[in-house]
């Protein structure tokens, strides 16, 4: 599984306008809904927030992976956002983590699709396990550059 199979530069927002977690999530949901012609944006956002409430998706590698499984989705939909100013996690019980990269995705609720859902989560964690990647992406100015850098990282991973 490749992360770049799920995104194109069109699904990358650089830079994110939001300065808080909630604002960033809203921005990503709005953009994704527009891209995929989904009317009920609130439903997407509430699914993300509900999942986030059960356990924060901020990772200590400078990445957040807000995600949810919703019935109306037939295939995985992913959107990425990058910001140079780290966004703080506001979850009550979690450690004070920050993120510069947001990989938001929605996946189908069918049990048979859950395996792919998990593999995508694992893939995102694997791609960003390179500690240099997030600081580099945070400095990039265009979606194409971000996409290219991630593509390069995945190529390096497959070569290894």
């Amino acid at each position: 599984m490749q992360l770049t199979h799920y995104i194109t530069p069109k699904e990358i927002i650089v830079p994110l306008k939001g300065t808080t977690k909630e604002a960033v999530y809203k921005e990503l949901v709005r953009y994704l809904a527009d891209e995929h012609h989904i009317r009920d944006k609130d439903k997407l956002l509430s699914a993300i927030l509900e999942r986030e409430e059960s356990a924060s998706t901020f990772l200590p590698i400078g990445v957040a992976i807000p995600h949810a499984r919703i019935p109306s989705v037939e295939d995985i939909m992913l959107i990425m956002g990058v910001t140079s100013a780290a966004i703080k996690d506001t979850a009550k019980d979690s450690a004070p983590l920050t993120a510069n990269v947001f990989c938001m995705f929605f996946s189908p609720t069918e049990d048979k699709e859950f395996g792919r859902h998990l593999k995508l989560l694992a893939r995102i964690a694997a791609v960003f396990s390179d500690t240099k990647l997030v600081p580099e992406l945070a400095k990039l100015k265009s979606p194409e550059a971000v996409f290219e850098r991630i593509q390069r990282r995945e190529r390096e991973m497959s070569e290894e």
């Binding site: 059960s54 590698i61 400078g62 992976i65 499984r69 593999k119 694992a122 694997a126």
Partner: protein
């Protein structure tokens, strides 16, 4: 940009929990341990029984061997109910704590005799052979006193096995297996050689008529009319031959250590034990009485198999060499019986100690080997004292023997019988011959075994006067000691704490399969937290193949565990958790590797341990905080991060009653 991953990159440290309690053995090893005790009686039982009941002794020994096969059934049933199903546990469940303590005290008396009778007898065989060799070379002035020689030998061998048991049971079961392999070869040679000898020079079977000596009638000499009843005579004769089944009780003691599938392996072990002891103890005794001439047999009362060998057909020198082999193997198996007595007594007293009856001081594991060395030392000391007191008299030991054994068999069987009515939980296996009358199950088979045991026990009580006198004194003394110890425990209110598994802890600064004690190429990591919620461990233990897979039981300690240096004690909650883990591992007979890993992020630590140990599967229970899907997501993220550069795969299983989620992560 702040490095938030720094704490996650820290080297994984772990506290490895080491204890001999977590080692499991095959049914062959279990059979060998029990047989070292049970089959070793072949070396002395016929000599002792013949002195009491005459030439018909082998027939009574054969009856006892068949009876032993039915007694083994009660042990299988009780072991299916309780993993640590020694007499203490079973009698306590059925008849209460006081009766259990009395039964244990009686049994310890026999353990105090088993070791000495075996080791002294071994000494007799060895000294007998040495003296024969001296005679052959005309060195009669070097004649060794059988009494003195056997006492010295018995003490040395007791000290040897004391040391071996302090080091650990793995070593002991290995020895038992080697001894039994050699014994099997020897028995086959004896049978074949005896058959050839009987073909060349046929001899009649021994008579079935018993000739009970006045001494063997014991206190029944005062009630002459009873002696005229044939059935009483048979009971007395069986009573004097019953030491042939001594060792059967060890079956319950080794059950805890038998590997998966536990009960099936127990049944296999029980059958091997029966078949071997029937042939060795029963048939070889019969052959000895047939082949060794009546007028010289009394000279071989303490080493009858040597006598049998010396009267087989063949060249004298060949027979002398084989007598040497018999003496050497006898020395080994009889010494093995002493070893088994130490293991058995240690096991019984450990159960008693766990229950808070013996003070925690006794259960303290050896710092290096993790064994209950204080109990082992106490048993060895009692055995050495017995050896010194008997001064090499095997017949005296034989007369003192079987008091505790028979009471322990009887109370154990009575308890299993009582539990059939009191405890209706389904049994894994039942003693056969059960009939239902009006919805009530009548355990005929169990009842018959109990009646048989009870009658023999009473017969022994009134005829084996030495055993009754000394056995009663010892039992009473030991019982009082247990009572005082229990009182002391209650007084210092430590009984609750002492119920926890006693273990040794070792800090490991770097996690590798070898340092954790993993033995197999496959590893399954089972994460545990709540001592009362171990369903997923049960699932894992039920599925793994212990021959190829290690089960690493992992506890993540967020608060109190140090990340470096020495660790003296586990936190209290972890002690209870470990106790329950050990109990479950014992139930399944699977070796587990318990680890405590200090970490802030439990999910990440779990994945990291699995990654560093090269595990193929992680098994977790259902979290109370988050949904199982979220647990899987967290593990997927952690695994993705850790295995990024290797692409390694792992299966993650979340199991809770009636549910299971299983996914492969890459």
């Amino acid at each position: 940009m702040q490095d938030q991953m720094e704490p996650y990159r820290a080297r994984t440290t772990a506290v490895v929990i080491t204890t001999a309690m977590l080692t499991f053995i095959s049914f062959w090893r279990a059979s060998a341990i029990v047989l070292c005790d049970l089959a070793s009686s072949a070396y002395y039982v016929c000599g002792i029984a013949e002195q009491a009941v005459g030439k018909a002794a082998p027939w009574f020994i054969i009856i006892v061997m068949f009876f032993a096969y039915s007694v083994r059934a009660t042990y299988i049933e009780s072991c299916g109910m309780f993993v640590r199903a020694g007499v203490y546990r079973v009698v306590k469940e059925a008849m209460g704590s006081t009766m259990a303590k009395i039964s244990v005290s009686a049994l310890i008396f026999d353990y105090a005799i088993t070791g000495p009778i075996s080791s002294v007898c071994a000494g007799k065989y060895l000294v007998g052979f040495i003296n024969d060799v001296f005679t052959l070379f005309g060195l009669t002035h070097l004649h060794v006193s059988p009494q003195f020689g056997s006492v010295v030998f018995a003490i040395l061998v007791t000290l040897y096995f004391w040391r071996k048991n302090v080091i650990g049971i793995e070593e002991s079961s290995d020895k038992a297996l080697k001894i039994m392999s050699a014994t099997t070869i020897m028995v086959v040679i004896i049978l074949v050689w005896s058959a050839i000898s009987l073909l060349i020079d046929p001899k009649p079977l021994p008579p079935m008529t018993m000739q009970i000596t006045p001494e063997a009638w014991g206190w029944l000499n005062d009630i002459p009319w009873l002696k005229t009843i044939g059935a009483v005579g048979v009971l007395v004769a069986v009573g004097h031959s019953v030491l042939a089944m001594s060792g059967e009780e060890t079956l319950a003691q080794v059950y805890r250590e038998i590997a998966k599938p536990k009960l099936q392996n127990m049944k296999k072990a029980a059958f091997i034990i029966f078949a071997f002891s029937f042939i060795f103890t029963g048939i070889v005794s019969l052959l000895a009485v047939m082949i060794v001439p009546d007028d010289v047999r009394s000279k071989f009362a303490d080493n009858l198999i040597s006598g049998l060998v010396m009267y087989l057909h063949g060249p004298y020198i060949l027979k002398l060499v084989f007598q040497g082999v018999v003496a050497l193997i006898g020395t080994a198996i009889l010494s093995g019986a002493l070893n088994t007595a130490i293991i058995g007594a240690n096991s019984v007293l450990s159960r008693v100690a766990e229950d808070g009856v013996l003070t925690g001081w006794f259960r303290e594991p050896h710092k290096r080997y993790g064994t209950t060395y204080r109990i082992i030392t106490m048993i060895a000391a009692i055995q050495i004292a017995t050896i010194l007191l008997c001064r090499g008299d095997v017949y005296l030991l034989g007369e003192a023997y079987a008091f505790g054994l028979m009471w322990s068999f009887t109370t154990q069987t009575a308890s299993v019988l009582l539990l059939r009515f009191r405890d209706k939980t389904p049994r894994e296996w039942k003693v056969p011959l059960n009939f239902k009358i009006g919805g009530v199950e009548i355990p005929i088979g169990l009842a018959l075994i109990f009646i048989g045991l009870f009658l023999i026990t009473i017969a022994n009580l009134v005829t084996k006067t030495v055993a009754t006198k000394w056995g009663s004194i010892f039992t009473l003394g030991f019982f009082v000691t247990l009572l005082l110890s229990e009182y002391h425990n209650k007084k210092i209110k430590k009984a609750e704490l002492d119920k926890h598994e006693k273990v040794n802890l070792r800090f490991e600064g770097e996690l590798t399969p070898e340092r954790c004690g993993c033995r197999h190429p496959n590893k399954v990591v089972v994460a545990v937290r709540d001592p009362h919620s171990l369903y997923h461990l049960k699932v894992a233990l039920g599925r793994v193949d212990p021959k190829t897979t290690d089960v690493v039981v992992l506890t993540i300690e967020k608060l109190t565990m140090p990340t470096s240096g020495e660790v003296e004690m586990l936190p209290h909650d972890d002690q209870l958790l470990l106790t329950n883990v050990v109990a479950m591992a014992e139930k399944y007979g699977i070796h587990v590797v318990p680890l405590v890993v200090p970490a802030k992020d439990a999910t990440f630590a779990m994945a990291k341990v699995a990654f560093e140990l090269g595990a193929s599967e992680i098994v977790v229970g259902k979290s109370e905080q988050v949904a199982p899907e979220v647990q899987l997501e967290r593990l997927a993220i952690a695994w993705g991060y850790l295995a990024a550069e290797t692409g390694r795969r792992i299966t993650v299983r979340i199991a809770w009653p009636k549910h299971e989620l299983k996914y492969e992560l890459t």
